[in-house]
Amino acid sequence: MKAQIVFINVFFISLLSFCQVNADYILKRVDENMYSENRIVESSMTIHGRRSSRTITSLSYSVGDSKTYTEYLSPAKEKGTKMLKLDNQLWIYNPSTDRIIQISGHMLRQSVMGSDLSYEDMMEDRKLTDIYDSEVVGEELINDRKAYVLLLKANVSDIAYDSRKIWIDSERFVPLKEELFAKSGQLLKQTTFSDIKKIDGRWFPTTILYKDMLKQGEGTEFKMLEIKFNQNIPEHIFSKAALRQ
């Protein structure tokens, strides 16, 4: 009897640790797909309003998660606006005023160009495995693709979303859907990833739809028109001086 109890305990502890390793393994595989040394992305962001939609195109250069330089290409109203993110600092250059403004503190919580994304959402560069405890809670079919369902619970206090639920394609290891929850468990935002393509040997979602679940509307669609990984990006791009050029 005693041996049986010990066996059952060992079995469950092993199962739990397997699940833990499994979740970390899945996230690591996702990182391998999503993370790159650097990348150049030309993208369009379509903000669906209640009455109309508007599309903003931009060109971004990024190195890891710490450095990003973005220049808005259209529409004419936004053209020439540039954004520079260096670690946890963010600057915006507005060509009409010819001024560089640092976005900090509460301003980071504002929406980016009226979209469902905040500057803070863009600034988050900590790895999910560093700030969340993850576990696999099941498997589901998402758009006919088998997906692991991972539940992430925050293990730090200074974080925007207390928990997340991520659906990861079990073969390609790319996220298919993500839900962001409030502390109370209320669903706040949903992100869906689609148009998954193999680029430079890695699977990558080229369309991302961000949706504020408390708000009516169709959300903000982010389409990557062209993406290049591991390019030779000159260092001077990631400087404040580059914003005025």
Binding site: G105, R109, A154, S157, Y161, A182, Q186, L188, L214, Q216
Partner: protein, 391 residues
């Protein structure tokens, strides 16, 4: 002088319709000016009373970082309740209010709000906070009529509130509207939601914190507390004073036009009198009146128009002004859109000072306007005047 007044009165009455036309126009100016100034005074009283009742009490302490015009800085605008305030809070003479930023989603629309945590048992402000003690399956909340109108919420409605706690972590919960109050004070109503302060402190993980403190009594002894700024009643109502000052200055143009019309009539009458009554002027001088006395006689005659106007104005003005004081003047446009503490119906207030200053200003103006054409008399040749020759 008595004779001059008697003569002036007889001449005025003798002029008949011409006098009464002047008097009616002038009386109209009297009534309108007193009414308009009364409306302004009534607005001043109403705005300050409503602000005391619903927002500022007898004065406030603000956290040094608090700026009501910058809602984004609210997260840094609070601190623990200082020990110096403990006794006043316990006695109910000082109420802490915690203010944080939040977002509500009425009918799926996103709307930024200021969430105000307030003691449900407070009695300083007339906000129906006692309803916050209601036991329901959501957080009980009280809103102002302006918020109810803009978010289309009414009593019994549920709405999702999203906020970020002190660590910046998102949280959301359902609110139930337990009461809607109407205060005429946009800064107490528009975009504001009132919930129990203890609940808000728990939601924000900010125990014993507050953003502002409201005094019951404006005569209270102010104590210097580090990190908190004193805001006297006068300072908090300065905006109303400035607005009324601006509006009064704008109204002065209207008073000026009204008086100008009335004075034009009096000036014309005076010029005509002097022109047509040259023989009379000559006779006065022949009888021993000095030129100065004759000028005085005509000036008194002109000024008497304003006295008659005051009497005529009183006949129809007192009932009208009294009726307005009781029923008020309802603005034809939505007063809540002005962003000021202003009720839809303004009740004029007429002080003794207001009535006397108005009468005095009109009388002095009439006297000056009557005197100007009368100066011509001083230059008249009495012999020529007696003969009625044009000069």
């Amino acid at each position: 002088m008595k004779l001059a007044i008697k003569l002036a009165y007889r001449n005025l009455i003798g002029a008949g319709l011409r006098t009464w036309l002047n008097v009616i126009v002038l009386s109209f100016s009297f009534v309108v000016i007193i009414w308009m100034r009364g409306v302004m005074l009534g607005w001043d009283h109403q705005a300050k009373n409503d602000m005391i009742s619903f927002e500022i009490g007898g004065g406030q302490y603000w956290h040094e970082q608090y700026d009501p015009l910058d809602p984004f800085s609210l997260n840094e605008s609070n601190a623990k309740v200082p020990d110096e305030f403990s006794e006043l809070i316990k006695s109910g003479d000082l109420e802490p209010i915690l203010i944080v930023q939040g977002t509500i989603y009425p009918l799926g629309r996103m709307q930024s709000v200021m969430v105000k945590g307030i003691n449900p048992n407070q009695t300083i402000l007339k906000i129906p906070t006692s309803k916050l003690d209601t036991v329901v399956n959501a957080i009980p909340a009280v809103i102002g009529g302006m918020t109810a109108q803009s978010s289309k919420l009414s009593i019994g409605d549920y709405v999702t509130l999203r906020w970020r706690d002190i660590n910046g972590t998102f949280d959301a919960a359902e609110l139930v509207i337990v009461d809607v109050f109407y205060s005429n004070v946009p800064s107490a109503e528009a975009g504001q939601i009132y919930i129990d302060i203890e609940k808000l402190r728990e939601m924000m993980i900010m125990p014993e914190s507050a953003t502002i403190f409201t005094f019951r009594n404006s005569e209270a002894d102010w104590i210097e507390v580090e990190g908190w700024r004193q805001k006297s009643f006068k300072e908090l109502t300065k905006q109303v004073d400035n607005m009324i000052k601006t509006k009064t200055a704008g109204q002065s143009v209207f008073y000026f036009i009204l008086l100008l019309l009335a004075m034009l009539g009096i000036f014309d009458t005076q010029v005509l009198s002097i022109f047509r009554r040259q023989k009379e002027i000559g006779t006065y001088v022949a009888l021993g009146y000095t030129r100065k006395q004759v000028v005085g006689l005509f000036t008194v005659e002109g000024t008497m128009n304003s006295i008659l106007a005051a009497i005529v104005g009183a006949i129809y003005g007192i009932p009208f002004l009294a009726w307005q004081a009781n029923h008020g003047f309802t603005l034809p446009i939505d007063a809540s859109q002005f962003g000021m503490a202003m009720s839809q119906t303004l009740f004029p207030v007429y002080s003794i000072g207001l009535i006397f200053t108005t009468i005095l200003i009109v009388m002095i103006t009439t006297a000056v306007v009557s005197y100007i054409p009368s100066r011509k008399i001083a230059k008249m040749n009495p012999t020529e005047a007696l003969r009625g020759k044009l000069q």
